[in-house]
Subunit: 387 residues, 2 copies
Amino acid sequence: MEAKARAPGKIILSGEHAVVHGFTAVAASIDLYTYVSIRFPTPSDNHDMLKLQLKDMGLEFSWPISKIAEVLPESGSQSSSVPISCSVESSKSIAALVEEQNIPEAKIGLASGVSAFLWLYSSIQRFKPATVVVTSELPLGSGLGSSAAFSVALAAALLACTDLVSLDVNDQGWLSFGEKELELVNKWAFEGEKIIHGKPSGIDNTVSTYGNMISFRSGNLTHIRANMPLKMLITNTKVGRNTKALVAGLAERTLRHPDAMSFVFSAVDAISKELAQIIQSPTPDDLSVTEKEGKIEELMEMNQGLLQCMGVSHAAIETVLRTTLKYKLASKLTGAGGGGCVLTLLPTLLSGTVVEKVISELESCGLQCFTAGIGGKGVEISFGVPS
Amino acid sequence: MEAKARAPGKIILSGEHAVVHGFTAVAASIDLYTYVSIRFPTPSDNHDMLKLQLKDMGLEFSWPISKIAEVLPESGSQSSSVPISCSVESSKSIAALVEEQNIPEAKIGLASGVSAFLWLYSSIQRFKPATVVVTSELPLGSGLGSSAAFSVALAAALLACTDLVSLDVNDQGWLSFGEKELELVNKWAFEGEKIIHGKPSGIDNTVSTYGNMISFRSGNLTHIRANMPLKMLITNTKVGRNTKALVAGLAERTLRHPDAMSFVFSAVDAISKELAQIIQSPTPDDLSVTEKEGKIEELMEMNQGLLQCMGVSHAAIETVLRTTLKYKLASKLTGAGGGGCVLTLLPTLLSGTVVEKVISELESCGLQCFTAGIGGKGVEISFGVPS
């Protein structure tokens, strides 16, 4: 049997940075996925290894199951129905297991993801040999929630192979989890995110688990059900960001200009609330989809101006804004800024020819483009023939 | 005798647009001037014409003085110590006087300035033949207050030749007016501005008259005395703006998003107040000039982001921002936006070589650059040999 989970990436529709200062942000899932499949060897396979294949990168890591059982004995001792955090002791053992794999220097950023894998695998599936294959449509480290999608898909695939989850393995296609099962996936994924990020907000894994949209403020999450289709062009500037430095720089600016910045954050808060309201309101209500799209575009432009006011934009982001504006399309950065990705709303009535032109112009600047539906389903699972 | 007045242009340092909605803006004079000189013919000149020469444009208009006295009899009947508005009757007569001059179609925008000239001249100097010569360092209609500088210089030159103003005509160089005289110049200039603009705010003529800086909110003006040198690069995008359409567009955006926009305006208000405070505080106080410049640059960047949030920027403005940012210089649009001029702070310690490079790069994009000292003297007069 093979269990394959897919978990979506996310974008911040509005409110990045302001959310750090206690104001509202809106995040949404995108229909670009990370896939994690698990295959347990048949007796004839005759292997007792745990293998992790990162297909996109052509990398494979493997450990004798006996070695994992030896250095991580506590993993096997608890119930996987109660997610537990990786202890200092275990994280040291895991670090040693990762180190011996000799990850290429250029890919050393993957080490924390491999650590998260070892913790989740050994905690949920104990010491069973298996081959775990990961592929992804999400660019890494660009603010599209690739690590959360990995943690969620991994937790989902692992839990789907336990008796904690009851799904019909003979069903065709992608299956959704029940409410309680989603909660468990989300909690385990959060443990993975903690290993990867240290102090994650929990937003990314929650969006990836539940899909759709989430409004969040001061740690309180509210699920939003979109009542209109929403499609974005996502442009990856491929400029590496230093999120910590951007957040710290803005914190200093806020200390220097407390009055002005508190109004700026409040303006973002109002934008997030209005955006959530527009997206949730029934269509056709007072407004047609086109009218709603116009409002959303205006709110995106306003939010981008406020992000520029915070000093977190970047020349590469401005290039995208300038290019899309030529086609009368509204854009804003998404995530930490200082590089990363830019969102451009693709209105329902926009012709495919225009989209192709914009993409070709952006790609000619060396940028990477994706089109994605916004606010789709969260994590799903399928049981099928190994691919 | 020749009387020559010079009156400075102005920039909006912060708060454009927000001021329309009742929030604080800061305006300052720049050391780019409009010059108006008046020469009365000697008996041997044997002419009884009123001539207006717009030297920069190679235009000359002239009217027989007898004709002006015939169609504008009321002008001669009042005291020039009490500025009076142009009546509907007089404005019709003036329109006819202007029309017969056959202003070239491409320069038809000058007609209202010529009308203002006729009203101020006939009201202050009655029906005396004279030759009035106008030259200017200010680009027209680019938001640098060229019309106000013209009205102020004209009113000053005209009043300097009456007994309402007591200045030593034998003194060399530029002379300043007394407080009461400035008030009279400003009021007459405002009458000129009303003819040119319909409903001027009175800010431009006040800055041009008094120089230095002015903070204004809801019609209340406060004079600010700068305690630090301030130098700007002013780049004219040469993109024509439609101020009324920009103001109306923002008013509509404000109706659509009242919560967000009220916070945006409040943020601008806080920026204007902080800017005024920094500029007025004694140097060296807690902060060196360089530290103050750093704060002003940050406030300019923030204000520009908020202007982008209001939707009043323009591709040509962004080109200037991008270019100056390459040299780590902060810029913002000034005035209505949608084209017009962009300010770039030139820090005291910035090398001349860098300034030259920036200017040459901007000029290679077809833009027009000026460097100007900010917050200098207001209107001044000199009596000298005709040039």
